[in-house]
Amino acid sequence: MRLPSFRERKGVFILMWKYIIKRLLWMIPVLLGISIVIFTIMYFCPGDPAASILGNSATPAAIAEKRAEMGLDQPYMVRLLSYLNQVFLHFDLGDSYFQNQSVMSGILYRLPYTATIAFICILLQIVIGTPLGITAAVHQNGLADRICMVIALAGVSIPGFWLAMMLVLFFAVKLGWLPPYGVGGLQYFILPCVANAFAGIASQARQTRSSMLEVIRSDYIVTARAKGLSEREILYKHALPNALIPIITVVGNGMGMMLGGTVVIESVFSIPGIGMYTTSAINNRDYPIVMGGVLFLGALFSLIMLLVDVIYAYVDPRIKAQYEGQQKSWRRRKKANG
């Protein structure tokens, strides 16, 4: 009895892999599109990097010479193609104009800080936000619901920088328990993560609550109750798995956003993260960093969305069937054409 079902699962596994590979290949045109758009925007952006490198005292002749040296005097198409060639054929994001460093190593240097904050925040969001939302849904309109929703409302409304500064004032300045800013051991991450995660916890709780409320009213929950299951079993075996899709979406979006760096938190706590890296590059007209950063974020976001879609498939068999259906019809089309 077990063997065919194992083979069956193996078949599904292969179908999923094909889907994943297809999606990964689709990322190429997406990233190509992103780089063309961001390159064009930067091209038309006012401001001259050559002038800012040389400073205020530079003569126009020196600036023109510098522009020629940097290749900024070339026509749009030539510059675009050479950039695409460099990125997609040589996997090189270029070097920063101002920092003596390649964009890739700049990003990789900052990524660990941003990633640490992002992962801790997402973890907090899941571990605290989801139970809050479930509690609120189960006790809809009750006291627990009110309390959870007040917390959620506060989380959504309180600006991150204000919360960050209050936390610093209290825990770092007044009590002296935690370092006020900078990077170092794990204790440096506590305040930024708490400040940053609060909004995520709130939106997670709200999403979980509304999606649980919807599911709790479904007919199959009545069926489960009619079977004699306990409320706890109904909640965790029947309701929660059905409510997961919107919850996963919130987590995925949050993850993508936070990996892009959180400028406010990074600047309050002086953390060398990706957010500060790219935003300050925009001010400096450091084109390679802006373009490389955006491209890197695009790739990261696409990967996270792919991960979210794959998790969907494992949570909801109907979605998995859709993916497999796409695969099958795609193969059928291929056969028909060949």
Partner: protein, 336 residues
């Protein structure tokens, strides 16, 4: 019929009254409903949409959403014990094991993200306290009993058609051989060609397991096919009750007469159906006196004054109508 020796019926509903509260209005869904049922028997609850049939069934299983629903009074005696007074934990042991329910819409009654086999086995493992493997075996057997190959144990609901899903729901309801089965319009959501099959499955399994059944329906054809007794429900009240023969051969209450009258007749050549005129009363504002009076062709001033009591018509046949004799003996003569 194997009546209990002590004289207590297997299940007895006494003066059940349920209301819903919605936007500040009180909706009287079930008013003073009483009936009883022996093992192996089938009772048909017949009535229009909104008459309170499903509410009756859900209160027997105590799965009404509270709030907005609230049971105001009455007793539901299962083998002499009032289940409305049981604790939640004790009630859980009855659900799915002694009383189970087939729901109206098979499309939404199954958990979409759980394998159907597991959904059946879940109840078995819970009530029969057997291992997962034994529960799985039994669930497969149940699937085969309703005509689905056991190899589809690991499939999900979306891989089945509506008729197949309803069979899964039936297998689930009957998995623990319940003593009482509540079938809430089990064929309404199905294709006509599947209806007969599903009905046959329910009937055969019911006979095999000697289960008492309450069949909720608005289809008199189903009543004729499966029910021993019939209770006609109107505006939350039983307006007529009797054996199938009594109701079909001598429908007494004008509403029952109207129900039969609105059936299309194969033998006569008429272009239009003859429905019962008017709409069911607003359950938040029931008329004083007989609830059917506003639509009743025989209604008199008396009908609108005070609530009408059930009267015996001999045998098990009872009816809630004061002008019952006139209505039947001289149809049409009661027009004012």
């Amino acid at each position: 019929m194997n009546a209990n020796k002590k004289g207590t019926p297997f299940i007895e509903v006494k003066n059940l009254t349920v209301h819903y509260t919605s936007e500040g209005k009180v909706i009287h869904a079930v008013n003073n409903v009483s009936f009883s049922l022996e093992k192996g028997e089938t009772l048909g609850l017949v009535g229009e949409t909104g008459a309170g049939k499903t509410t009756i069934a859900k209160s027997i299983l105590r799965i009404l959403p509270e709030p907005p629903a609230q049971v105001d009074g009455g007793e539901i005696l299962l083998e002499g014990k009032n289940i409305l007074a049981l604790s939640n934990d004790d009630m859980r042991k009855i659900r799915g094991r002694k009383i189970s329910m087939i729901f109206q819409d098979p499309m939404t009654a199954l958990n979409p993200v759980m394998r159907i086999g597991n959904q059946i086995a879940e109840g078995i493992a819970l009530h029969e306290k057997v291992s997962g493997k034994a529960a799985e075996e039994k669930a497969k057997k149940m699937l085969e009993m309703v005509g689905i190959p056991g190899s589809r144990y690991r499939d999900y609901p979306h891989q089945f058609s509506g008729g197949m899903k309803q069979r899964v729901v039936i297998a689930m309801a009957l998995a623990c051989s319940p003593d009482l089965l509540l079938a809430d319009e089990p064929t309404t959501a199905l294709d006509v060609t599947i209806q007969a099959q599903v009905l046959d499955i329910i009937k055969n399994l019911q006979q095999e397991l000697n289960t008492a059944m309450i069949m909720i329906t608005h289809d008199l054809g189903i009543v004729a096919e499966v029910c021993d007794n019939v209770a006609v429900v109107y505006a939350g009240e039983v307006v007529e009750y009797g054996s199938r023969e009594e109701i079909f051969d001598h429908p007494w209450h004008p509403y029952t007469v109207g129900l039969f009258g609105s059936l299309p007749d194969i033998n006569s050549d008429v272009e239009r159906l003859s429905p019962i005129a008017g709409m069911p009363p607003d359950p938040s504002n029931l008329p004083e006196g007989c609830a059917f009076a506003p639509r009743c062709p025989y209604a008199a001033a008396e009908c609108r004054k005070a609530a009408v009591e059930l009267k015996s018509l001999g045998g098990t046949h009872i009816c809630r109508c004061i002008r019952q004799m006139e209505a039947v003996q001289a149809p049409g003569a009661g027009h004012n």
